[in-house]
Symmetry: C2
Subunit: 259 residues, 2 copies
């Protein structure tokens, strides 16, 4: 928070992006990332080197966002409308700033998030869909929805999700110590719209690959390879070896951050 | 129809494709087209040079299809399920065969079509949508929907659509002589879903660029550049100079062919 004077404004941005061309959200040397493109646009618009203060969470390579929330600080008095217009003029076509809002000085897009909703889209039909392919995971097998729903219900609640993460904590929920793997999954909803299966997971925080590992495991339940009752055992095991495969990134979208 | 013996079966295919990577449906030397990819897959699957007999219509470069209908003839007795599976194995990811059905020997995917429904998608918001961008036309201006609907109603019916075509007839309706530009627009529906404006045009046949020129003209009505009452005058003029600009291909999808 160095360099924040009483004149500094805290600005909240809501972003939409197509994750396909990016190596995830977080900056990495020499690779196109959303953060790098955004900070480049900020620096061009404000005509000085700029960095964001925080983002609600770091989406992985290939993961999309409909409403990613980011905040940054600036002494500039440019109005939100011009900031939105200016940033969009400097951003590549795969990223757009949907809204710009001045928020209170202590707003933090990551720590203040009460929960986030991720959506995972499965195309459940014998053959792929060329028109949806970029944003769905194609599963050609019959899926037993009641069984998937039963398994999903067993994951809802406050649990240690170590079995569903491939690595370190992706984002902390409120009031938890860093590195802990206990998260509260508030809701998992599963909707069928024609051949499209839409899974939404709302939680106070997500571990690395957590949604994709949950979806991969639920799809194995849907195919009859696992029973819904196994979920409790998987959670208890606290080991990635017990859960299913990681569903591919392109089916995943950060839908909403709730403050 | 040369080479058709009493043993020859007539096979109807329903295709979905993403038009972006193709130079339209119709075969052109040295260019990737849907027809070329399909005939290549047919030839590979049946292990001999194959051609389609007809398609419901030829979509232009960049135009998508959810349910394009094609038919071809073959003496092979392979069952529809294996044909579908085999063709999909040989087709590029942007095309899929959704269904295969043996039909009566005289079925013709183009001449037997009673009507076709095209859908045009407009993203009507101040800024582009990265997640929808590949399949919408972004219009950042306010659009007056009641005025668009009023203008659309004046295009419904049997009219000479010369003013809405850039060239020769794209596909004939039943019982009309070749090259005529009289078509019957059965319905134009206009729906708003959030910032997405969806225009559907159903007609017994479409001229070259007809939907895109109708949409371009309706959007000028929506922006207040034209009045709905002008539609009658534009139709009467029978000249492309009187209608609006051609909306871009990427927003257009062939939705359905009705037999």
């Amino acid at each position: 928070m160095a360099g924040v004077s009483f004149m500094t404004r805290n600005i909240k941005l809501v972003l939409e992006y197509d994750g396909a061309p990016f190596f995830g959200f977080q900056k990495q040397p020499g690779k196109p990332t959303v953060q790098q493109a955004l900070e480049h646009a900020l620096s061009r618009f404000f005509n000085q080197p700029m960095k964001i203060s925080a983002a609600s969470g770091r989406t992985d390579t290939g993961v999309h966002a409909e409403n990613q929330v980011v905040n940054f600080r600036t002494p500039s008095d440019r109005d939100p409308g011009s900031i939105r217009k200016g940033l969009n003029a400097h951003l590549p076509p795969h990223i757009v700033v949907k809204s710009v809002e001045e928020v209170s000085p202590d707003f933090h897009s990551r720590y203040d998030a009460k929960s986030k909703i991720y959506e995972y889209r499965v195309w459940n039909a014998p053959f792929r869909s060329p028109l949806l392919n970029a944003r769905v995971f194609h599963v050609p097998f019959h899926l037993n929805l009641p069984e998937i729903r039963k398994a999903a219900r067993r994951l809802v609640g406050r649990h240690d999700f170590s079995s569903f993460t491939s690595g370190s904590a992706l984002s902390g929920g409120p009031g938890k110590k860093k590195g802990g793997r206990v998260r509260t999954v508030k809701k998992i909803s599963i909707q069928k719209k024609g051949d499209l299966l839409i899974l939404q997971v709302e939680a106070d925080g997500f571990l690395y690959h957590m949604v994709r590992n949950i979806v991969g495991t639920l799809l194995e339940v849907g195919r009859g390879k696992r029973r819904p009752e196994e979920m409790a055992k998987i959670l208890r095991a606290k080991s990635r070896r017990f859960s299913g495969s990681t569903a591919p990134a392109k089916g995943l979208t950060l839908r909403q951050v709730i403050y």
